[in-house]
């Protein structure tokens, strides 16, 4: 574990939105560290608050009445409560973001090149010409064929994979220290997804970017992230080195999530071990563990208050009462799925 202070240190981040006259907590007490050159995965089901967390870090939530508390130190500067004017200077230059659907994430009426140039020129005093030269180089770095020509095309004229590459090129255009990728491959085909994931893995070396990778695909996390944070219903369920989380999950939700993935190799189970029920709505989250209504291990100590994260291994924490009560989950084993 690197000794120097993390690039991004998030502590107790909470986000609540007003609804029907009261504040509904969407994200509660999320903490995470991201070190330089690291890829950290943020996983969770749809609606678990992954995007809200990312948007809160970027200061991009502008719903009226939203309340963001806690702390997020980026290179020692507090992002929570930072005035928009200062945030704007960070956004795009020091922290960049890419989004799920490359189809709709570009403004349809401008060329790809124009939009990348725009970001460069928003942060650096560069001539149109110099900006375009950098754009073309970035596109080439991202493996876009014929980049000079591609820069002159409109978003709808590119395939999903090319658009996502252009999106990444745009995000990297001012060499940000941190890249937040919100489900960058969810809308893409597996073969294209593999291309993009390979590109993201390479970025650390070529552009020195740390990445917060948001996804709901455990496979993507296993393939790309050094550490993982599992969110359930807006709360941290588990966090730790990816390998430990996959081999020795400390939270029943993590374990159940991993079990629910149909295996591509090995014996085919008759039925998949699905988790019954659905996650609670943010407005009626239980007072205790949010997973209790679906958890096979739930008992009375789970119910009064949300269990705090407890350390269960090197760098690994789980928000569950089981480890502290001396009845931790059995390890899943280093590989439950054998290669053909």
């Amino acid at each position: 574990m690197p000794a120097d202070p993390p690039l991004l240190a998030v502590r107790d981040l909470c986000v609540s939105f007003p609804a029907r006259g009261r504040m509904v907590p969407i994200v509660e007490h999320v903490s995470l560290d991201l070190h330089a050159g690291e890829i950290v995965g943020l996983v969770g089901e749809s609606g678990s608050g992954k995007s809200v967390t990312a948007m809160a870090l970027m200061g991009l939530i502008d719903s009226p009445g939203v309340r963001v508390t806690g702390s997020a130190l980026f290179r020692g500067r507090e992002l929570v409560g930072m005035p928009q004017r200062q945030l704007r200077r960070l956004r795009g230059r020091d922290i960049a973001m890419i989004f799920q659907d490359p189809m709709t994430a570009f403004t349809p009426v401008y060329t790809i090149g124009w939009q990348i140039d725009e970001q460069i020129r928003a942060h650096e005093k560069l001539s149109r010409h110099a900006a375009r030269a950098r754009t073309v180089k970035l596109l080439a770095d991202m493996g876009v064929p014929d980049p000079a020509h591609m820069a002159q095309r409109y978003p709808h004229q590119l395939s999903g994979g090319l658009r996502q590459r252009a999106m990444i090129a745009m995000a990297l255009s001012c060499s940000p220290a941190l890249l937040i990728a919100d489900e960058p491959t969810t809308a893409l085909d597996v073969t294209v997804q593999a291309q993009i994931l390979e590109l993201l893995r390479r970025l650390r070396g070529t552009h020195g970017a740390s990445i917060l990778l948001i996804t709901h695909d455990m496979g993507v996390v296993a393939q790309t992230c050094a550490r993982t944070l599992v969110l359930y219903s807006g709360r941290m369920a588990e966090t730790g080195p990816t390998e430990a989380v996959f081999d020795r999950p400390g939270h029943p939700y993590t374990a159940a999530l991993l079990d629910a993935i149909p295996p591509l190799y090995g014996p085919r189970p008759d039925r998949l071990p699905a988790i019954d029920g659905i996650p609670p709505q943010p407005a009626d989250r239980p007072a205790g563990c949010a997973f209790a209504p679906r958890c096979g291990h739930a008992h009375e100590t789970c119910l009064p208050a949300p269990p705090p994260p407890v350390p269960i291994g090197p760098g690994q924490q789980a928000a569950c009462v089981l480890p502290a009560e001396g009845t931790p989950l059995p390890p899943r084993g280093p590989m439950t799925e054998c290669t053909a």
């Binding site: 089901e45 749809s46 395939s159 999903g160 994979g161 090319l162 085909d189 597996v190 073969t191 294209v192 997804q193 593999a194 291309q195 994931l197 390979e198 893995r201 709901h216 695909d217 455990m218 496979g219 993507v220 996390v221 296993a222 393939q223 990816t242 390998e243 996959f246 081999d247 159940a256 999530l257 991993l258 629910a260 993935i261 149909p262 295996p263 591509l264 190799y265 085919r268 189970p269 008759d270 039925r271 998949l272 071990p273 699905a274 988790i275 019954d276 659905i278 590989m335 799925e337 290669t339 053909a340």
Partner: protein, 325 residues
Amino acid sequence: MTLTPLLELRDLRKTYRLPRGRVLRAVDGLSLRVLPGETLGLVGESGCGKSTLGRCMLRLADPSSGQILFEGRDITTLPERRLRALRPRMQMVFQDSSAALNPRRRIGDLLAEPLRVHPAPDGRRRPASVIAARLSELMDLVGLPVQALERYPHEFSGGQRQRINIARALALTPRLVVADEPVSALDVSVQAQIVNLFADLRRELGLTYVFIAHDLAVVRQISSRVAVMYLGAIVELGETDGVLHHPAHPYTTALTAAVPRAVVGHPHAPVLRGDAPSPTAPRTGCRFHARCPQAQARCAQEEPALHTLRPGHAVACHFPLPPGP
């Protein structure tokens, strides 16, 4: 095989005419048999024609040429009026669970509609009491409370809405269900519930599925056979694990290698370069040759036909890969 296929496609083609005289070949000369009781998984990348094929199978889209046989009977040109009698026996489940449900109607109404519209097998209309009994039976089948019948689609989660869609497809006790990406929009845990539901229903009702998905692991879980599609044609077809574990077609190899496995430290397979070519581009030779790492001179000229490689495994490639260890 002596078994009559439940559904048979012979050299099926579906072309779309685009502006400027371009022609898009969404399904391009495809033959396929679906046997009673089996689950045929259909995989392939976006735009390869899976949905178009699925709709053509049930005559929800009219093919441009070729033949469709359902229960041994040619339905390719059957007029819609006559087709109506067959509709109860072939149904479709769609991906987007919310778009397929009218938001202003109660679940009970939605499910009762096919029962009211189509006469019972004895040719008479179903009385209200029969319909009501069938509705609660359906709710039971897909694991929803009977009270759900009184509620509106927006009151349900994505997974529950997909259960409702399945219930609607099952209302008329079909034999064949074509499911077009029924779990693609769902989270892993909900996806597992729905995949299990499909498996349970098959066992209980003896259904035959054509299960379209792009997730290979999901397809493996549910299917007895798998067909891999590329640019409107089947490039590999066979027993599920034979195809997925010992692929003979270079495209299938690339597809299985690209699946991100939930195993830490799994080596990263070399990725397939480039994008699938446009389905409107004219093509010669093998439809995969522009991206194929194994391509040779012959591949650019001659189109490989789907031929049997070994029992229960067919491939459309001049140089099929040997079965792995």
